[in-house]
Symmetry: C2
Subunit: 235 residues, 2 copies
DNA sequence: GGTCGGAGTTGACCTGCGTCAAGGCGCACC
DNA sequence: GGTGCGCCTTGACGCAGGTCAACTCCGACC
C-alpha cells in the first residue's frame, strides 16, 4: 500500500494533490480553481502524530489549521485544574480561527487524538482570503454560528438536565450524526465525561444503569449499541 | 426635553438621523458614507417597549436586529422547563444573526428588559452587505468569535467552579467591565442566577455570605459595592 | 400614593453527584 | 506477544446545592 499522503511536500505532483485537498475543504467550497491554487501554494501541510499538542494556553498560535484526516480535541483547564473538553474536530474542520480574527494568546489547548493530516495557513494569508473572498468569510460565519449554537446547548444542558439526561442526549446525538444505532465513541469515556460536565465515575454509573435497563449495550470500551432509542429520548 | 428618537420614521431629517445612528453601529464601522446611507435607507427603526418579546423558539425570525439603546435578554428553555439566560445585549450589539447566516426556526427567546430603540434589517439585505462589504463580515466574525469564547468560559465555569466561585467571578467581571467597584446589576438577580446556572436561592445565599465576610455591600436590589475585590478573586 | 404580584430572602430538608479509594483490564507501545 | 500505565469500573461516603415552603419587600402600574 503506497502511503503517498497529499499533505507532504514535494514537486508539482504534490502541488496538484494539495490543490485537490484544499478543494475538498468546506471553508473553501465555492472558490474558483485559480483561487484554490493560490491558497494551495501558501498552505503548509503536515502529518501530525497522535497525542501531539498543536497549541496550548498562553501560546500565540500563528496558524489557522485545517484537518484533512484525524481527530483533534480542544479543551481548557480552569484555574482549579479541572479539564473541560470544549469540542472535538474531525475531517474538514478548522481550528485556530480565534487568533486569525483577533490575535491574542490562546486560552485553551488543542491535541490530536489520532495521527492526523493537518494543513496550516498563516494568519496574514487567511485574513486576506477572508477580506477578498466573501464566500470564505460567509462559510466561516456559518461554522462559528453553528459552534455557538452547540456550545449554548452545552450550557443549558449543564444546568437544565441531570447526568442521565445529558448522557442519553449525547448518545442519541451520536446515533443521529452517524445514522446508525451502533457506533464507536469518538473520544474516550473520560473525555466524554468531561465534555458532558461529569466525572468519569458518574458517566460509568449512568451507562451501567442504561445497560441494566436494556436500553444500550456496551462492547469493549468504545462500542455502544443503542437498543431502545425512544427510552433514551425520554431521559 | 425633546424626545426626538432617531429611530422613528419621517422625512429627510429622520433619514439623516438614521444615518448617524447606523454610523455608530460597530458592525458597520469602516464603511463609507455612501454605504452607510444605503444601509440606513433599508433599515426599519422602532422603539420597543419594555418586556416585549422580539422572537421566540419556533419563530422564523426574519430580521437582524441592532440595539441602539436599551437591553435585550436572550435565553432558552430546556425540555424540562428550565430557563437558561444565554447572554444579555446592550447598545451597539446585534442579535438574530443566526437566522441570517443559516435560516431556520429559532431555538431561543429574546425579550427587551428596558424600552429599547432597535433597528431591523431584512435577511436578504444583510446577506448582501456581508458578501459585498468584507469589513462587515469580518466584524461579525470578531463578534461571534468573542461570543463563542464567552460561552465556552460559561461552560467551563459551570463544572469547574462552585457556586461561590461563579458568583465572585461574575461580580469581578462586572467591575472590570464598568471600571468601578460599585455598580448596578444589569439584570435581575433571578436572571443572574440563571446565567450562572444557579437557583435564585443559592445566589441569594452566596451574596449574603459575601456580605457577612465584608467583601461586598448590597444596596436595594440592584446595587452592589465590591469592598474586597482581591478576596473575591481568590473565590 | 396605594396596592398587588413577582422578586428576593431565609430556613429545613434531602438527594444526586463529586470525592476518595481500591481493583481489574484493555490498549498502546515496546 | 508481553507488560505496564492509564482508563475504566465499583463501592462507600459526604456535602453542595436543589427543592419546597413561608414570609418580606420592592417596585411597576393604576
Amino acid at each position: 500500500m503506497d502511503h503517498h499522503h497529499g499533505c507532504e511536500s514535494g514537486g508539482d505532483g504534490a502541488h496538484a494533490e494539495l490543490e485537490a485537498l484544499v478543494a475538498k475543504v468546506p471553508l473553501f467550497a465555492g472558490l474558483t480553481h485559480e483561487q484554490i491554487s493560490e491558497i494551495a501554494s501558501r498552505v503548509r501541510p503536515r502529518v501530525v502524530p497522535r497525542n501531539q499538542q498543536l497549541y496550548g494556553a498562553g501560546d500565540i498560535n500563528p496558524y489557522l489549521r485545517i484537518i484533512h484526516t484525524g481527530t483533534v480535541k480542544v479543551y481548557r483547564i480552569t484555574e482549579s485544574g479541572h479539564e473541560q473538553v470544549i469540542r472535538v474536530l474531525g475531517s474538514g474542520d478548522f481550528l485556530g480561527e480565534k487568533a486569525v480574527i483577533s490575535p491574542s494568546a490562546s486560552d485553551h489547548f488543542a491535541v490530536t487524538l489520532d495521527e492526523s493530516e493537518i494543513c496550516s495557513l498563516d494568519h496574514e494569508d487567511m485574513r486576506s482570503y477572508l477580506l477578498r473572498y466573501p464566500s470564505v468569510a460567509f462559510t466561516m460565519l456559518e461554522t462559528l454560528s453553528a459552534r455557538l449554537g452547540t456550545t449554548e446547548e452545552q450550557v443549558s444542558a449543564m444546568t437544565g438536565e441531570d447526568a442521565a439526561g445529558r448522557v442519553a442526549a449525547y448518545l442519541v446525538g451520536l446515533a443521529d450524526e452517524y445514522h446508525r444505532s451502533s457506533f464507536l465513541l469518538p473520544i474516550s469515556k473520560k473525555d466524554v465525561a468531561s465534555y458532558l460536565g461529569l466525572t468519569p465515575e458518574t458517566l460509568s454509573r449512568r451507562l451501567a444503569a442504561f445497560e441494566d435497563n436494556g436500553w444500550i449495550h456496551l462492547h469493549g470500551s468504545r462500542r455502544v449499541d443503542l437498543l431502545d432509542i425512544e427510552a433514551l429520548r425520554l431521559v
